[in-house]
């Protein structure tokens, strides 16, 4: 009996120590390490607390169960214990090891329920932002403010991530977690997000806020956050949404309220304040409040479809020139810049029957998508006309011009 105890203690201390060290290390690390980030909201801290609590419960149970097993494996091997005992069936024991886990579970479930209830309470928000998922970008709408824009993967990441790009991605700043237009929100305010989607299901996730919600076409989900520290917070789309699911990151810039108001005003007037230009830091916590710099080069792209009224006639050259840009931005991901596509998944547009055929069919396909090809309704009539004209007059194709009003008629 003595030796059994000795073994047990030694073993469980050993295993326990090892696990404790790992766990303790995990605990101190934050984002970018190997544990869940503590985050920058009250909710995210609670969630992290629950995570650590259930983790420790598992560690303790693990030490007990694995400790006993290891002990038994060592002590009760045949060379050491040639005669097996013959005991079995004990209702008492069975009841004990049913009830104890049950109690442990209750003690975990109760606080979890509390946090959950808090997370689901989206009432009394200070402002609302509509978040719409597209294949593969996000659109943000500041409700009641007439400000809205797309947010897509930053261009340098986008180039580096192409197969065979030859770029060393470790040299790209914030590879895959940088966008052209980050979402800007004020700190200290309860911001409500209305999450929905334009095509397939996406999920909007920012780990530092402990916020993740699916964006479901035809439905709107509500979530909220109240960020305490200014900084840049990065997230990703967390629901498989097709080819470029891995390439639609989220960047949220939390700024002091005054700065936010200024940014919003500028945005409305079509000028840009540097707040929108993401500060290139990874850690959220130490990001200093941003200094205001000169306006960025690019003017804001308000969702084109909403803003623009279709102009009447455009020349073929105009359309082709404009279309090239639209194609590079929207279509080249699949059909490639040279139009060759990536058969068999993505057909070549060179000599394609659809491109060479009646315009109406192509307009319909671009507007509504087909199978793997997403719909492009969100583009303006002009853009669609331009891109179609471009495909019809490039790479040796020659099948005429499509005007914006034809697209408008087809909507």
């Amino acid at each position: 009996m003595m030796s059994m105890k000795g073994w047990l203690t030694r073993l469980s201390t050993g295993v326990g120590l090892a696990l404790t060290t790992i766990a303790a290390q995990a605990y101190t690390e934050t984002s970018g390490g190997y544990n869940m980030p503590v985050g920058v909201t009250e909710v995210s801290r609670e969630v992290h607390g629950l995570h650590m609590a259930v983790f420790w419960v598992c560690v303790v149970i693990g030490i007990i169960v694995f400790g006993l097993m290891t002990y038994s494996i060592i002590k009760h091997r045949r060379s050491n214990n040639p005669k097996p005992a013959d005991f079995h069936e004990s209702t008492t024991v069975e009841i004990i090891w049913t009830v104890i886990p049950f109690v442990v579970l209750i003690s975990l479930a109760v606080p979890a329920a509390g946090t959950l209830i808090k997370m689901e309470d989206t009432r009394n928000a200070d402002m609302s932002i509509k978040v719409t998922g597209y294949q593969w970008k996000w659109h943000y709408d500041y409700l009641g403010e007439d400000v809205g824009f797309f947010s897509t993967l930053a261009e340098d990441s986008n180039q580096a991530r192409q197969l065979g790009s030859g770029v060393d991605v470790t040299q790209v700043p914030n590879y895959l977690v940088e966008v052209d237009n980050p979402l800007v929100i004020p700190v200290g305010k309860k911001v409500r997000f209305l999450v929905t989607s334009n095509d397939v299901i996406h999920a909007w996730w920012v780990p530092e806020f402990a916020v993740k919600k699916d964006a479901i076409p035809g439905y709107v989900n509500e979530i909220w956050t109240k960020v305490e520290q200014p900084g840049v917070y990065r997230g990703v789309c967390a629901e498989l949404c097709g080819r470029d699911h891995g390439f639609m990151p989220i960047v949220v810039k939390a700024v002091p309220e005054a700065e936010f108001t200024a940014w919003l005003e500028a945005k409305k007037n079509g000028t840009e304040v540097a707040a929108a230009e993401t500060v290139v830091t990874d850690a959220a916590v130490d990001a200093a409040p941003t200094e205001v710099a000169a306006p960025a080069e690019a003017a804001v792209e308000v969702a084109a479809a909403e803003a623009e009224a279709a102009p009447a006639e455009m020349s073929k050259d105009e359309l082709v020139a404009k279309g090239e840009g639209v194609f590079k931005a929207n279509c080249a991901a699949c059909h490639q810049a040279n139009g060759q596509g990536l058969p068999p998944s993505f057909p070549s547009l060179v000599g394609s029957a659809v491109v060479g055929g009646p315009a109406a069919a192509q307009i319909a396909q671009v507007l509504n998508g087909k199978n793997l090809m997403p719909p492009f309704k969100q583009l303006s009539d002009t853009d669609i006309a331009a891109v179609i004209t471009y495909t019809r007059n490039s790479w040796g194709n020659d099948s005429g011009v499509v005007q914006p009003d034809a697209v408008a008629a087809a909507r």
Partner: protein, 547 residues
């Protein structure tokens, strides 16, 4: 009882030897033949699914795209899962049931032998169809094995082939399951009451029940996908009054019991092997049975824990959290029982035992992470990250797959009459155990640190975890070749392996299967055996004593 067969009108079917050549396998109604076919099929699928996982792991070795286009990557993820689950684990378990259930309960064959043949032969065709989609316009399905609309509706020509392949697999599973249930309920040797059945039989009974209950639901769900795409129905579009999330509910109503379909037979295997090598009967037979039944019951009311982030009403989220956490209780009963069975036993560590012990350790780790996932608010952080990937690979690979491997080591001497090579078995075990942890343990960290699943590329801070994981995956895959050769050598007598094992290959083993010759003759128990008390006592003392 045995005297009766004199009066019986003999028809030569009974002593019909197998046909020769390929026709033997095509026409066979023999449970052992079909078991062998199932196992070889599963083996092939594990290999194909394993190759696909290597494509995944190779691409993820470093950030940036090196080998495949994102679209192809998604196809690999989707196909890997479908092939492993429906082609590997499930047929693997059905193969074991085919071989062992009749021999364990003392009957000559499954209840419906021709249906059994049908259920098997559907599978190679269904998978040829499914894997063939890789070569179609638009490529294979790439919407994840969960097939969520609207994404899955973007699949190209492969789409109807996916749906019909799932239908065919469903037919196969349902017929197989009906067969097992009927066999167990109707064909037990005289004297074998339900509570004297070996645990593997019990867990399979419950598994088969789950299969019959949920495979039709999956069939319904994919049928709705089909009509939504081709016949203008609106099940999953809001504009017509449907809901994409409705698919997820129906799918997971199938999907969650499905994961227990993949683990309950494993519980049965481990509950058979541990007592054998501990030379001590199972600590709590009844509680093992009740725990399995509770798990099966609970599995029907927890499905939405896969969908915590879809925006369910609060009450739903709370209910599914509580119900899910409850499953830890009966599963805990099982784990504790295994430990108590080992306690004060007289253990030896042959390869099947090693794999079983690793099962208990590593499955429990997977169960712990499952429990963490069950906590709704925290799952918001875990969901769709590599933490989930780590969770389910722990329960599936060192869980379900290890149990299949253990079972094959344990029974192959009975099947072939030739012992496997113990040395290489142990080498295989240690390599597998080390590499599998190398593969999947770092994925917990990657997930917690923020790496989402189903992506071909990732931010650079996750590189280290992925490097280790990829090395582990390749190591694990290569290690399986040891297993393959070891098993084939027993099958075909390579390396001069001789037959001539005793009936009871393992001294501590109990059950009717150990009362027939090794290798088991083509037909066993054409006349029902008397279920001897001593075999029964070893499996379940009390029940026999009471009876």
């Amino acid at each position: 009882m045995a005297h009766a067969h004199d009066a019986h009108a003999h028809h030569d079917d009974h002593h019909h030897g197998p046909d020769k050549g390929i026709m033997r396998w095509i026409k066979t109604t023999n449970h052992k033949d079909l078991g062998t076919l199932y196992l070889f099929f599963a083996f092939t699928m594990f290999f194909i699914g394993g190759l696909m996982s290597l494509v995944i792991r190779a691409e993820l070795f470093h950030p940036g795209l090196q080998f495949v286009q994102p679209e192809f990557f998604n196809q690999m993820t989707t196909m890997h899962a479908l092939v492993m689950i429906f082609g590997g684990v499930m047929p693997g378990f059905v193969g074991l049931a085919n071989w062992m259930v009749p021999m364990m309960i003392g009957c000559s064959d499954l209840a419906l032998p021709r249906v059994n043949n049908w259920g098997f032969w559907i599978l190679p065709f269904a998978f040829a169809m499914l894997i063939g989609t890789l070569f179609m316009d638009g490529g294979a399905p790439a919407g994840g094995w969960t097939m969520y609309p609207p994404l899955v509706l973007q699949t190209g020509n492969a789409f109807p082939f996916l749906i019909f392949a799932v239908h065919l697999m469903g037919i196969s599973s349902i017929t197989g399951a009906i067969n097992v249930v009927v066999t167990i309920l109707n064909m037990r040797a005289p004297g074998m009451t339900l509570l004297k059945m070996p645990l593997f039989v019990w867990t399979w009974l419950i598994t088969a029940y789950l299969l019959i209950a949920v495979m039709p639901v999956l069939a319904g769900a994919v049928t709705m996908l089909l009509t939504d795409k081709y016949f203008g129905t609106s099940f999953f579009t809001a504009a017509g009054g449907g809901d994409p999330v409705m698919f997820q509910h129906i799918f997971w109503f199938f999907g969650h019991p499905e994961v227990y379909i993949m683990i309950l037979p494993a519980f049965g295997i481990v509950s058979t092997i541990i007592p054998t090598f501990a030379r001590k009967s199972l600590f709590g037979y009844d509680s093992m049975v009740y725990a399995s039944a509770s798990i099966a019951f609970l599995s029907f009311i927890v499905w939405a824990h896969h969908m915590f982030t879809v925006g369910m009403p609060l009450a739903g989220e709370l209910f599914f959290m509580f119900a899910t956490m409850l499953i830890a209780v009966p599963t805990g009963v099982k784990v504790f029982n295994w430990v108590a069975t080992m306690w004060k036993g007289s253990m030896t560590f042959e390869t099947p035992m090693l794999f079983s012990i690793a099962f208990v350790f590593l499955f429990t780790i997977g169960g712990f992470s499952g429990l963490m996932l069950a906590m709704t608010p925290v799952d918001f952080q875990y969901h769709d990250t590599y933490f989930v990937v780590a969770h389910f690979h722990y329960v599936l690979v060192p869980g379900a797959v290890f149990s299949i491997i253990a079972a094959v080591y344990y029974w192959i001497p009975k099947w072939t009459g030739r012992m496997y090579n113990e040395f290489w078995g142990k080498v295989h075990f240690w390599l597998s155990a080390v590499f599998i942890n190398l593969t999947f343990f770092p994925q917990h960290f990657a997930g917690l640190a923020g790496m989402q699943r189903r992506v071909p590329d990732y931010a650079v801070q996750f590189t280290d975890f992925n490097v280790i994981s990829t090395i582990g995956a390749f190591g694990f895959f290569v290690a399986q070749f040891i297993f393959i050769f070891n098993m084939l050598s027993s099958c075909f007598g390579w390396f001069g392996r001789k037959q001539g094992l005793p009936d009871r290959v393992w001294e501590g083993a109990h059950g009717l299967e150990w009362t027939v010759a090794s290798p088991a003759p083509y037909h066993t128990f054409e006349d029902p055996p008397q279920f001897s008390d001593s075999e029964g006592t070893a499996i379940h003392d009390e029940a026999v004593a009471k009876a």
